[in-house]
Amino acid sequence: MSSENSIVEKTNLLDLEEINKEAEKYEIDLILIGGNSVRAYTESRSWRFTKDLDFITTSTKLGLLYDVLNNLGYNTMKTDYGLKGSKKINEKYSIELHISVDKVIDWSTGKTYILPEDIFELSKSVPIKASFEENQELEVVAKSAPIEDVVIMKLMTARPRDHFDSVAIILDSFDKLDISRFKRICEKNELIKTIKERIESLIVDNRKGIIAKLWKQNTGLTFIATRQNDLRKKLRVLLEIL
């Protein structure tokens, strides 16, 4: 028998698949950011995402996207940042959907991330696996923001939770990171100073054991010394390039 948890997850993933298909059909640029994109670049032990779906898109086909979501049963409304949708799964739970248009605004700092021109072109189709045992056969494919954009969006906020996400991506997928693109986007968004300061503070946090605490809060696991050293080296590489 499926539990309520797995039904929520299943609906969420099937909707994600459907939205992705519809976007492709109508050639709408629509890619995942937020927790689901972190999932694409990290090991499952770091998955602490919400069931919400966070996307980015461009303003060109917004009207069409509005119709697609309404057809999928979402109550959609315009917001300051783009679109917001909500769909009830049952009496108690719903899926919330947020679509930022042309830029992403970070609540904690008020900073804006203007989407780079190549973000949709470089987006990656990634398999998103279910985390609940009952859904283990379920795997959907969706387009995720490139790793460089995900890392920058996570580093530019002031939320420790986002810093954990960025650390997990850096540790698990550093080889996939195009360092020159990383720098280029930071420059274009005038974020060099912000990102540099953040990386410097993460290096200090790593040395002081703060990252280890953040790691434990989010994964329940101990941050072992080899991982601490690995992180130090990778953060140094990023810092040097900036």
Binding site: N5, E96, E133, P160, D205, N218, T219, T222
Partner: protein, 349 residues
């Protein structure tokens, strides 16, 4: 029989129990006392460990140093008995949750932490670690019962040295289990929401506070606040009533509505007197960032005017609840976006 030991292993286990009982030993000790090669000693321990008949810890100073402790023959027999009716194929397919359901009420337990909280909030996906409250006298049974090739059981820090499907953290508890358990939709026992709220609130990490807030938003009408074993009484017993009052007030303030019935907040307010030196939350990450910030602002001569403005702006994030802090006689360093984000994500505001 799926948890049995081949004869050679049983013989080695019995000899080791005779010598060490519940004392700790090393691989070298095994080789010496059984008069076997280091290779055979390692194989013996590896087999026992995978079956859950020995508990392994690693030295905090050097992870390569391993210490072992045997699970008692009584506990081993009990677990072999529990699994005796299960066919080998069925055993291989058992998930951790299936095991907990299989156990039913034979050994008391309560799943706690994020895994249990998720059942109530369906918000942030829980980590892979299952935290289970148990009676200390059942520790050996739990280790033997849960351990298999997919599952690693720990009594303290969980080291991710080898990837496992399930990480289990056993937490000794003296609490009366009948009071705290609630049967989940899936059929295993989780901690009741009232106890879980207090458990997570007491952890005072940003993550645990997010889970507390999400649980309240999703269940506020169903929570026992006032009665015996209700949240308010438990918070008083756990000496966390002031923090609870503050958090509930902040939740209503951010949502601009009465997610939590105002009577609950006024009842708590009447129980809290004067000021305290409490900083809330005592999250190490937040505390560290806040301290660093204060140090920078104190030493203003070392920074530019622009930086002072920037740091003061950040300081405001941490001190966003100054009025509520005064009302509840504590110092909040909880950034306002923490509660706001949960509210938005859950479609409340």
């Amino acid at each position: 029989m799926v948890k049995s030991m081949p004869n050679w292993l049983k013989k080695n286990y019995n000899s080791l129990w005779k010598k060490y009982e519940k004392e700790v030993f090393t691989t070298q000790n095994v080789a010496d006392s059984l008069n076997i090669s280091n290779y055979m000693a390692t194989k013996t321990l590896w087999q026992l460990e995978n079956k859950g008949f020995v508990y392994k810890t690693r030295s905090e100073l050097d992870y390569r140093n391993k210490l072992y402790r045997l699970i008692s023959p009584e506990d081993v027999r009990y677990v072999i008995g529990l699994y005796s009716l299960i066919e080998k194929e069925e055993f291989r397919r058992l998930t951790l949750e299936d095991k907990l359901i299989l156990l039913n009420e034979k050994i008391p337990y309560a799943l706690t932490g994020s895994k249990a909280a998720y059942q109530f909030h369906h918000y942030v996906n829980p980590p892979k670690v299952y935290e289970i409250k148990i009676r200390s006298e059942d520790e050996g049974k739990w280790i033997a019962f849960l351990t298999d090739k997919y599952t690693r059981v720990y009594l303290n820090d969980i080291l991710e040295t080898k990837s496992a499907k399930y990480y289990i953290k056993l937490i000794h508890s003296t609490i009366k289990f009948d009071d705290i358990i609630h049967k989940s939709d899936s059929g295993y026992y989780i901690e009741k929401i009232e106890y879980l709220l207090i458990e997570l609130l007491m952890r005072e990490t940003q993550t645990s506070i997010i889970e507390v807030v999400a649980m309240i938003i999703q269940n506020s009408a169903d929570i026992n606040w006032f009665r015996e074993k209700g949240v308010i009484k438990l918070a008083v017993e756990s000496n966390i009533i002031r923090e609870l009052g503050f958090l509930l007030d902040a939740l209503n303030y951010e949502s601009d509505s009465s997610i939590v019935d105002e009577r609950i907040i006024s009842t708590i307010e009447n129980m809290v007197e004067g000021n305290s030196k409490i900083i809330f939350p005592k999250d190490d990450v937040l505390l560290n960032r806040y301290d660093e910030l204060r140090n920078k602002i104190v030493h203003q001569s070392l920074i530019s005017k622009k930086e002072i403005v920037k740091y003061k702006k950040i300081q405001k994030r941490f001190e966003g609840y100054s009025e509520l802090s005064n009302k509840w006689g504590l110092q909040s360093i909880l950034p306002r976006e923490v509660i706001r984000k949960v509210l938005t994500d859950l479609g409340v505001s």
